[in-house]
């Protein structure tokens, strides 16, 4: 694989994101949420626990959290803070789903509407190169933003809470695996599914709408169903990463096999 072609598409994609008013606001909103949620949860946990001592319902939740193997023996406010942070890590799954799918929705159909697809396919580029370059262009910015946000959130949470707990709340192994492994894998899966739609579409808006109506909810429901398991049982999170990685491989191979230049040029262009 020619690295030059990959960076070429990546750089062009970044320029496109900067110029696309339907895409770049997402790259502002999600980082704010990705940093804001963990910081707010970390800061509010002790207030909630302290204020919740008199509240029977709150006490029930605190007791339940403290019964989890991971948090057993921890002071209540630290246990709750760690529990909330683990749940806040869900934003690092939501981010790649939203960002990668939006970029991928424009990926191939965008080339068609700009009439650049045929000149590109008329060059010596191979299908595999084209699809890998497009995949990298869709997921690269998403993954980088997600990782940067995860690192910034980790540092901020630790700086703001280290003095109180005398330990670093982040990253714990769930947070690390979720943000740095599962999140990029999910981004790739979402991008691959959306790219397949994009190749068979003639209108970027239709692809964005289909993505918003079907693909994003499908991924979120899947994450929601397995969310509890993934945030409380580490082997389940590891298994989740392996399953998504295998799904990525299968989807990529399928996309390469099903990428029909002539069908795209003659039927969908």
């Amino acid at each position: 694989m020619n690295g030059g072609i990959l960076t070429l598409f990546l750089r062009r994609e970044i320029r496109d994101i900067r110029g696309n008013s339907r895409v770049w606001p997402l790259y502002l909103v999600f980082p704010v949420l990705g940093i804001g949620f963990p910081v707010v949860f970390a800061l509010l946990a002790p207030l909630w626990v302290d204020g919740g001592r008199a509240d029977r319902d709150a006490q029930v939740i605190i007791n339940l959290v403290q019964r989890l193997a991971e948090f057993r023996g921890l002071p209540p406010s630290e246990a709750i803070a760690r529990y909330l942070l683990r749940n806040a890590a869900g934003i690092f799954i939501l981010m790649p789903v939203a960002l990668a799918s939006t970029s991928a929705a424009f990926s191939i159909v965008g080339e068609k509407t700009q009439r650049t697809l045929e000149p590109i396919l008329a060059t010596p580029i191979t299908d595999r190169q084209f699809l890998v370059a497009k995949l990298l262009a869709c997921t690269g910015p998403t993954v980088v933003v997600t990782l940067v946000v995860a690192i910034v959130a980790t540092v901020l949470v630790d700086v703001l809470t280290a003095q109180r707990y005398h330990t670093l709340l982040l990253p714990d192994r769930f947070w690390a695996l979720g943000a740095f492994v599962l999140s990029p894998l999910v981004a790739i899966a979402v991008a691959l599914v959306t790219m397949r739609l994009s190749a068979r579409a003639t209108d970027p808006q239709a692809t964005v709408q289909t993505t918003a109506l079907f693909i994003i909810p499908a991924f979120l429901i899947t994450i929601g169903v397995f969310g509890k398991l993934l945030t409380t049982y580490f082997p389940a999170l590891v298994a989740g990463c392996v399953i998504v990685a295998l799904a990525d491989l299968a989807l990529f191979r399928s996309n390469v096999r099903r990428f029909q230049r002539e069908e795209i040029l003659t039927r969908w262009a």
Binding site: E118, P119, P124, R128, T266
Partner: protein, 308 residues
């Protein structure tokens, strides 16, 4: 060289191109004429290996058309193509667009920069090289697309409507460029609706309407055309004489251009003295009479109408 043998392509049972065979030797301009939907773009796509033929084969720049998605990389690397629509990234500058496509053609470093500069200067886009292509006029985009088709030094060049959207001066520059490329020994396939352009450029003219209706040099096509054409040069404006000549039973058509009359006669050249006699009787001194083949326009229209 381009060589097509029995190229046929059907889409869902509808035949777009049928049994197309022709040969274009190195350093020749082959113009492909035909009405909209005649299969010109499909033929170019077939020859570039972008779509696979249902049957038949072709050889382009020494590369035989292969089957499979990545079988025609070397063929495509040897070809330049101007697609029907220019197709650029509007947010990128002309320089950045050519840089992007140059890298896809596996050019890099100073060689790529030199090529980009050469062709941007050649097509008078150098001063606007840093402006986003979205701000370009249609003609500027067309010139940039021509630069993209040529800047990687291809042996075979496919040009789909190369002068569409260009002003007369830019059209002339493009035609001169095509002739220059021909002098350099490159092979060009030009799809056009502009018959005058085809007449000026073509070594070989093909008329396509799903299948090839005609394919030969212009001289041979003219020789085989129906009806005899004669050019009469007068001392006075020819417009005044045209109606009288059209009234003659053996004159099918009389077209006046300045002091010249282009007559299409239904009979043999034995009718020419009668034409001269009529003109002299009408007080129009005749300076010259010479045979002229049928125009490409009449050859084209005849071929296309006969096929309808």
């Amino acid at each position: 060289m381009i060589s097509a043998q029995g190229l046929t392509r059907a889409f869902d049972g509808r035949v777009a191109v049928e049994d197309v065979s022709f040969e274009v030797p190195d350093g020749r301009v082959f113009t492909l004429l035909g009405p909209n939907g005649a299969g010109k773009t499909t033929t170019v796509r077939l020859l570039l290996g972008l779509i696979a033929p249902t049957s038949g084969t072709a050889q382009v720049a020494g590369h035989r058309l292969g089957r499979g998605p990545d079988a025609n990389r070397a063929l495509r690397a040897s070809c330049g193509v101007l697609t029907e629509a220019p197709g650029f990234y509007d947010r990128l500058s002309a320089w950045e667009n050519l840089l992007f496509f140059g890298r896809l053609y596996e050019l890099a470093g100073p060689r790529l920069s030199e090529r980009i500069e050469k062709y941007l200067r050649l097509f008078a886009l150098w001063d606007r090289r840093d402006s986003p292509v979205g701000t370009y006029s249609k003609g500027m985009k067309q010139r940039l697309a021509l630069a993209r088709a040529l800047f990687h030094d291809p042996q075979v060049v496919f040009l789909d409507e190369p002068t569409a959207g260009l002003d007369p001066e830019a059209s002339l520059a493009v035609r001169e460029m095509i002739l220059e490329l021909k002098r350099e020994g490159r092979t060009l396939l030009v799809c056009t609706h502009n018959l005058d352009e085809a007449e000026r450029l073509a070594d070989i003219v093909a008329i396509l309407k799903r299948r090839l209706l005609a394919c030969d040099t212009l001289d041979r096509l003219r020789a085989g055309g129906d009806g005899q054409q004669v050019l009469v040069r007068l001392e006075s404006p020819a417009e005044e004489q045209a109606p009288a000549l059209r009234a003659l039973p053996f004159v099918r058509d009389a077209v006046a251009r300045g002091n010249e009359l282009l007559l299409t006669l239904s009979g043999a050249s034995s009718q020419v003295p009668r034409v001269v006699q009529v003109l002299v009787q009408r007080g129009a001194p005749v300076l010259e009479v010479r045979p002229a083949g049928p125009s490409l326009e009449s050859i084209y229209l005849q071929a296309v109408r006969e096929d309808t």
